[in-house]
């Protein structure tokens, strides 16, 4: 549980400071390992603050698709 919390805090910090090219693979690993529902509120906060000029909440949509696809994928790949 401690590792999960630290991983999520690290992921949250990286989401603000570095390019998505590095952040997204780490988020995918996180979502493979856990049911990453907490990524959704994080993506929402990013969209609200940084994405006000955008017409779509891209991070929220991306996070949702990531969680759904990996949950289904994990079932078929028998990862969990």
């Amino acid at each position: 549980m401690t590792f999960r919390i630290l991983y999520f805090i690290g992921l949250s910090l990286l989401s603000v400071f570095i390019t998505p090219l590095i952040f997204v693979p780490l988020a995918v690993l996180y979502a493979i390992r856990y049911f990453a529902i907490e990524i959704l509120p994080l993506a929402f906060l990013i969209d609200v603050y940084f994405g006000a000029a955008n017409s779509l909440p891209l991070y929220t949509i991306g996070a949702f698709l990531l969680i759904i696809s990996l949950e289904i994928g994990k079932h078929f790949l028998m990862l969990k």
Binding site: L40, L45, Y49, G51, L58
Partner: protein, 298 residues
């Protein structure tokens, strides 16, 4: 066992869907609480990162009294010169840049002044004297979000000196804007670019050209003289941008053309007759040179 797993997945998908729908509804119709929470979390992080960066690079040395006095004197002198030269006296608000494109989640700029400091939505963001790089898209209490002209998908009308054409510049991110013109139009690296709809100043130059003879069109890539990723301070205008007609835009281009023909020559090097008669030499249509072409301009 298999049934339990399937129902577990269905439950998770249901929870994720519910949270997603809630998040989208809040984003669309009721973003204020989210904005408050985001600003409370992200602004100190961004400011801390900027301060740390400055500390590491040794750029946070405070000004000495002498330097501060000199700065105040130069500011006062600049203001009086602007008044004498009849330039726009629109007050501007200086703001520190705490987040830049490529590091932030979206291709935007974050500044450390917000609605509490008088920043308004749709006001232009200046670097240098007359160069607008974007506008305020959203204000929060103590920070603001700046949409750049180079933000992907943003389109603006550009005038290219050299081929002397109007075209549309579309942002592609990372501080780069792209123009798209037919083959046969001679684009050169270094051609100056004005975005007349947002400012009379030179926006930047054509820094790269992608032209393949077999293709019907060619691309030019525009960048500002000062890289957006290295910005530390910007000035925020106080009058929102407004829609401009083509005639106004053309007048802006001509004004810019006149301005960049004149340079600031120190009085001891300037030789000209002390006469009030006109010495206009330009015959270009629409361009009436001023009586004193070598007038010292800002």
């Amino acid at each position: 066992m298999k049934l339990r797993q399937t129902s577990n997945i269905k439950g998770r998908i249901l929870i994720a869907t519910a949270v997603f729908i809630l998040a989208v509804l809040f984003w669309r119709f009721f973003p204020t609480p989210g904005e408050f929470i985001s600003e409370t979390i992200f602004r100190p992080l961004l400011q801390g990162e900027t301060a740390l960066n400055n500390l590491v690079r040794g750029e946070s040395q405070p000004l000495s009294d002498e330097e501060s006095n000199e700065l105040d004197y130069l500011r006062a002198e600049n203001a009086s010169l602007r008044e004498v030269l009849g330039q726009s006296d629109e007050p501007r608000i200086a703001a520190g840049v705490i987040g830049r494109p490529s590091a932030l989640p979206y291709d935007v700029l974050m500044i450390d002044k917000g609605s509490d400091d008088g920043i308004k939505v749709d006001t232009p963001i200046y670097i240098g004297n007359d160069t607008v790089i974007g506008f305020v898209a959203e204000t929060y209490q103590n920070s603001s979000l700046v949409a750049l002209l180079s933000t992907p998908g943003f389109a603006s009308t550009a005038y290219i000196f050299g081929p002397n054409i109007y075209t549309t510049a579309v942002g592609i991110g990372g501080g780069v804007t792209r123009i798209h013109v037919p083959q046969g139009i001679t684009l050169n690296i270094g051609d100056l670019v004005v975005l007349p709809s947002v400012s009379p100043g030179i926006y930047g130059t054509v820094s790269a050209i992608d032209s393949v003879p077999e293709r019907a069109e060619q691309y030019g890539y525009l960048t500002t003289d000062k890289p957006i990723s290295s910005l530390k301070v910007v000035a925020v205008g106080t009058r929102p941008l407004s829609v401009m007609e083509f005639d106004e835009a053309r007048a802006v281009v001509e004004e810019t053309r006149r301005e960049f023909l004149s340079i600031g020559v120190p009085a001891e090097f300037l030789i000209e007759a002390q006469s009030s008669t006109s010495t206009a030499t330009s015959t270009e249509e629409g361009l009436e040179a001023d009586a004193e072409v070598n007038t010292v301009t800002e």
